[in-house]
């Protein structure tokens, strides 16, 4: 482990999927860390590789997946070198996942009490009575009302929001160190989504788990994440703290994502959109994969892949625009606004530091 604060370190991960048409290069050299107790959001469009990344961590890839290279270090051990049997001991125990669709991720023929208690019986060898008693506690914790009588109900007797609470209860029953949440609220209404997100934050404080949060909803990211990684075409193109990504983004793809989402106070005739569609990963383009859709593309983007350029100690972006020789460009209007806000925030922070001395560690992390 490079850093003792890291609970998970993914290095140079490359995953291909074998198909009749050839190898689909779904993950192309992805590296990131997950720190203890933090929420790391991975954002990107469908097909950008965010779900494949987490499925590789869980060892749940389809049989045609080929892990070409890389390592996933968890507590000093490489998960990619584990046997299927060893992974079974880790999944649901150390690393658990909340799946996207609460309608299909529960067994329709099994009482929910048994589904929640199952990880305890499997991983801890707990007896049924004790496991069910703990399942009941967990149901109360995730806010399922009237838990005593509902423990014997089947999934179809619950609403979507309640089912997602059950899925969360299953994932958390063993107090996992790492929790992967793959679009946990995409299928839910906004009011229910708000409840579930609040619940996740509360539970994270209670059992101090680290969360990898996968979503395409930047609004949710803004409220949940400590750090953000933006993925495009199987690569991470920018990562930083949530403030750095939202107020001082550097990659044109991040600019596009942020401006194509209307905020409640945006108006005007044309919504900024990213033209075109993501590239075909059967045959990824040379150079920067985003170049074809990028209004700010430089000549070098089509020839050579940009390395990560450092913006701050915590903020890196893979775009040639950050190269010292690159021309100065003006980002879209909405991004300029965000950067102004960032400058103001930095200023306020500097002033606060001058008057009250250094900001305490805790505050900085938030």
């Amino acid at each position: 482990m490079d850093n003792e604060n890291n609970i998970l370190e993914v290095r140079n991960l490359q995953v291909n999927f074998k198909t009749y048409a050839g190898d689909v290069k779904a993950i192309r050299n992805v590296s990131f860390d997950l720190r203890k107790g933090e929420t790391l959001a991975i954002v990107g469009e469908s097909g950008s590789g965010k779900s494949v990344t987490t499925r590789t961590i869980m060892g749940l890839n389809a049989s045609n997946a080929d892990i070409v290279s890389g390592s996933i270090m968890y507590k000093g051990q490489d998960l990619l070198k584990k046997s299927e049997q060893e992974m079974e001991g880790i999944r649901g125990q150390d690393i658990a996942e909340i799946f996207q669709d609460p309608m299909t991720s529960l067994d329709p023929t099994m009482k929910i009490g048994r589904q929640i208690a199952e990880p305890l019986m499997v991983h801890k060898g707990m007896k049924k009575d004790k496991a069910w008693a703990q399942a009941l506690e967990m149901m109360k914790l995730v806010g399922i009302t009237d838990a005593e009588s509902r423990i014997n109900d089947y999934p179809h007797q619950f609403s979507g929001g309640m089912r997602q609470r059950i899925v969360i209860a299953i994932a958390l029953i063993n107090y996992p160190e790492v929790l992967i949440a793959d679009e946990p609220t995409t299928a839910l209404d906004v009011t229910i989504q708000a409840q579930i997100l609040n619940l996740m934050k509360e539970l994270q404080d209670k059992i101090s788990t680290s969360i990898i949060f996968i979503t395409h909803d930047l609004g949710v990211v803004a409220g949940m994440a400590d750090r953000v990684a933006v993925m495009y075409a199987g690569k991470i193109v920018e990562y930083g703290t949530v403030d750095e990504i939202f107020y001082n983004p550097k990659h044109p793809y991040t600019w596009g994502l942020l401006s194509s989402m209307p905020t409640l106070d945006s108006s005007g005739d044309e919504l900024p959109s990213i033209p075109g569609t993501p590239p075909d990963l059967l045959d990824p383009p040379t150079g920067d994969a985003f170049a074809a859709r990028n209004a700010y593309a430089l000549k070098i983007d089509t020839e050579q892949e940009p390395p990560f350029f450092k913006v701050s100690d915590t903020h890196y972006a893979a775009t040639w625009l950050l190269h010292p020789d690159a021309p100065q460009v003006t980002p879209p209007a909405q991004i300029v606004e965000r950067q102004k806000k960032y400058a103001k925030m930095q200023q306020a922070l500097a002033q606060a530091q001058q008057t009250t001395g250094p900001v305490e560690e805790e505050e900085e992390q938030q």
């Binding site: 009011t191 989402m261 905020t263 409640l264 959109s273 925030m345």
Partner: protein, 319 residues
């Protein structure tokens, strides 16, 4: 929108749509709602799942027999068409864009046949050449090209399929288009493309939209006016800017407070407002009341003063 001289294209009057009537599981999916849509505007319909917004859309295009109430399209009751021709004209003038671009296109039909189906049924093409030309023009209008016409749906991405769905709806030159969650199955960057396309088509062809969605920020962006539904009832109708800036009904406030905003500072300070749905079920008689100019709120007689007070505080009324 200039509402002073605007003409109504659709009037929904006391629409009730019940299912399983008389059985123990009777559902009041839409329970006595009334609203109008004006020519050339986009009317957004928002609400949570189960609020009845989709049922309302389907009842308007007459996929159901309404339990009671009237739907007038261009002044004519859609429930009382007598001749086949009248019904055919109605189907031509009102079209629908569906939510799921994967399920709503027949996988065994070529794109040109999907798009031309309405043209064929309504005999809108003089001959085969004309039909081909119309299809190619339509594909071009929605940002595809004519080479796409002989392909099958599976060869397209989600965004492209939704464009095909839009081309199909436009093929019969409708006046009124119901778009039921047309972008919720698409990626963020593609959503913006489709919304821009819909806006462009509206400008060029003078279409009227009923835009049904649960993504409140997108609905606000595309709509001129918005209606908020909850438990089959219409709770508030107002101009989209106004309803977002100054919601008067508690439910609208609660719904808006739950919308995640891509701004971390805002998110850290966010306070959700809870809404107790039971307050609607106290047995009081409620109906939509125009509290401020063109701002309607569902209220009981003794609640009107409270809402008027709120409107005053928000400076929606001055006197």
């Amino acid at each position: 929108m200039d509402y002073e001289n605007a003409e109504k294209i659709l009037e929904v009057k006391h629409l009730k749509q019940y299912f399983n009537v008389g059985k123990s599981d009777e559902v009041h999916a839409v329970d006595d709602i009334s609203f109008d849509i004006y020519k050339g505007e986009t009317f957004g319909l928002v609400g949570e799942s189960g609020s009845g917004k989709t049922t309302t859309g389907r009842a308007i295009i007459h996929l159901y027999e309404p339990t009671s109430g009237e739907i007038l399209f261009d002044g004519k009751n859609v429930d009382s068409f007598t001749s086949k021709q009248e019904r055919r004209d109605f189907r031509q003038e009102m079209q629908m864009i569906f939510q799921d671009p994967y399920a709503s296109l027949n996988p065994r039909m070529k794109v040109k046949d999907i798009v031309a189906e309405g043209i064929d049924i309504n005999n809108l093409a003089k001959d085969d050449d004309d039909r081909t030309k119309q299809v190619e023009d339509l594909l071009e209008t929605v940002g595809l090209n004519k080479d796409h016409s002989s392909r099958y749906p599976h060869e397209f991405s989600g965004g492209q399929r939704q464009r095909i769905g839009i081309a199909r709806a436009l093929a019969v030159k409708p006046k009124f288009v119901i778009a039921d969650e047309p972008i919720s199955a698409l990626d963020v960057s593609i959503q913006a493309q489709v919304v821009n396309l819909m806006k462009k088509l509206q400008r060029e062809q003078g279409l009227t939209y009923l835009f049904i969605a649960h993504d409140l920020s997108m609905v606000k962006y595309i709509s001129d006016r918005i209606g908020v539904m909850h438990y089959g009832r219409m709770l508030e109708i107002a101009d989209s800017d106004e309803i977002y800036a100054h919601p008067l009904h508690d439910y609208t406030k609660s719904l808006l407070s739950a919308v995640p905003v891509p701004d971390p500072e805002f998110e850290r300070a966010r306070q959700e407002i809870a809404y107790d749905g039971d307050q609607e079920n106290d047995g009081k008689e409620r109906h939509l009341v125009e509290i401020a100019p063109r701002h309607w709120v569902r209220a009981a007689d003794d609640e009107i003063d409270m809402y008027t007070q709120r409107a005053h505080e928000a400076s929606l009324i001055h006197d």
